[in-house]
């Protein structure tokens, strides 16, 4: 159901993703196991984070957590043209899903989901940056999602990648922003849920925080949670964020060491 896009090579008017024969069996599987497959409830997926892959940008990072793969490039601070004078710098975050990143092909046009994730990541990063030092300037953060395994994981990993890339670009900030997602499955809190796990959960809770200052910059909650459960999720995520902060810091230190040697 692709509309005709005159700037791209178009396929047939209508094409459907393949339907698999065992999709009926899959429903039975999702009902059964109550315990998490492969990890403990409070374990997050191992993070692989490097900087400097995109040489054209001022800063860049690439994050991979099992199946989620996100590349991020930062351009800035650079001059904003055609805008009136603004004392505070402008942060622009743009998220783009690759067409092959989801199990069903996405059209290359940016839609509402891309923009809502951009807003969430922008909100996560905004309180950490010293934008008052950059009048008349703009910082552009471009995030490309190469493979997507859960929207909450994308938001969390995207914020981590963006903050690392901003630090790699040398932009002054109060602290690194780390982000962690969690899901409420029955009565358990599962950290860093995959797409399948999120479907089974009754609520998801994603936070972004600055461990150096101990402040929270963004909370995104969907589903049904009581207030006490929400506070439990918050505390679980914050504890996890400190570990992620170590990963980010060591990735940045390694890249600096590689540059100096």
């Amino acid at each position: 159901m692709a509309s005709f896009d005159r700037r791209r090579i178009n396929g047939p008017e209508e094409s459907r993703p393949p339907v698999f024969e065992d999709d009926e069996d899959a429903e039975q599987i999702s009902v059964t196991p109550k315990t998490r497959k492969g990890r403990a409830n409070k374990d997050i997926r191992p993070i692989f984070l490097t900087t400097g892959l995109i040489s054209e940008g001022n800063g860049s990072s690439y994050i991979e957590t099992e199946k989620t793969k996100i590349a991020c490039a930062v351009y800035g601070p650079r001059q904003i043209k055609n805008e009136p004078y603004n004392e505070i710098g402008n942060l622009n975050v743009e998220v783009k899903f690759s067409p092959f990143s989801c199990s069903r092909r996405r059209a290359p046009l940016r839609d509402a989901e891309d923009r809502s994730i951009s807003v969430l990541i922008q909100q996560s990063l905004l309180p950490s940056l010293r934008l008052e030092l950059l009048p008349k300037s703009g910082i552009d953060v471009f995030i490309t999602i190469i493979e997507n395994d859960g929207v909450e994981a994308c938001v969390a990993s995207g914020a981590v990648a963006a903050s690392t890339a901003l630090a790699d670009a040398g932009i002054e900030m109060f602290g690194l922003v780390t982000s962690c997602a969690s899901a409420m499955v029955e009565e358990d809190i599962w950290l860093d849920p995959t797409a399948e796990e999120t479907v089974r959960a009754r609520a998801s809770f994603t936070i972004a925080c600055i461990p150096a200052l101990g402040t929270v910059t963004n909370i995104w909650q969907t589903g049904q949670l009581t207030a006490e459960e929400a506070i439990c999720c918050l505390e679980a995520c914050q504890t996890c964020c400190r570990d992620i902060h170590n990963v980010m810091a060591s990735a940045l230190l390694n890249s600096q060491a590689a540059k100096c040697s």
Partner: protein
Amino acid sequence: QKQLDPSVFQRLHPRAYLERFLSEGIRPDGRDPDAWRSVSINVGSVTTADGSALVRIGKTTMICGVKAEIAEPELDRPECGFLGNYINGNKVPNVDLPALCSPRFKPGPPGDEAQILSARLNEICVSSEILPLNSLCIHPGKAVWVLYVDTTCLNYDGNAFDAALLATIAALKNTRLPKATYNEDTTRTICSRKVTIPLQLQSLPLSASFGIFDSSHLLSDPTSFEEPLLETFITVVMDEKGSLSSVIQSGLATVG
């Protein structure tokens, strides 16, 4: 005379900078004028795609993913393909140069360069007949495969076309399609999750790009620093049997 930092000199006088290097017989990154950057290919990393490839030519990075969908063929070509905009049968190649890969690209719909790359890639796919048109047929007249081959540039350091073509071919080679059976009674196509069939590629076109500087130096595999200084570009596409698939020349010089 005041000494200029080399990187400042590069920014202020790029042409003179390149001329100084070429007069010594090497290029700013240390290569000989006819040397290529090292190429690395990594296939199959994206699990959501039916086939994928990540190609690096020096610092230019392209990632290509193939997604297969099912569609009805055109009435007058029930076994193979589609005519019209996508004249190359059932493959829909597209190259995207997002704002991420270079400061010269702005966010938004594909600009001129991306559209030109997509169109050229489409031409190569048609003229080289990479896939026999009948190989994507599930059931004549009812269901055929459509392959969406999307290439995204992650880092643009010159020579995007070579990298895009290489990524497309590598991803197609890596693609495995699920075995599909068409049920006449329900008119639905059901695919198997367990049995996958690789694509039968007939030819593997590969390209080599060159640029001419100052009408006297032939530079192969130009970087993004050299590209704006070259007056002419030549790209030659050949397949593995050595037959010429396409020659593209753009710029001022004449080829004699």
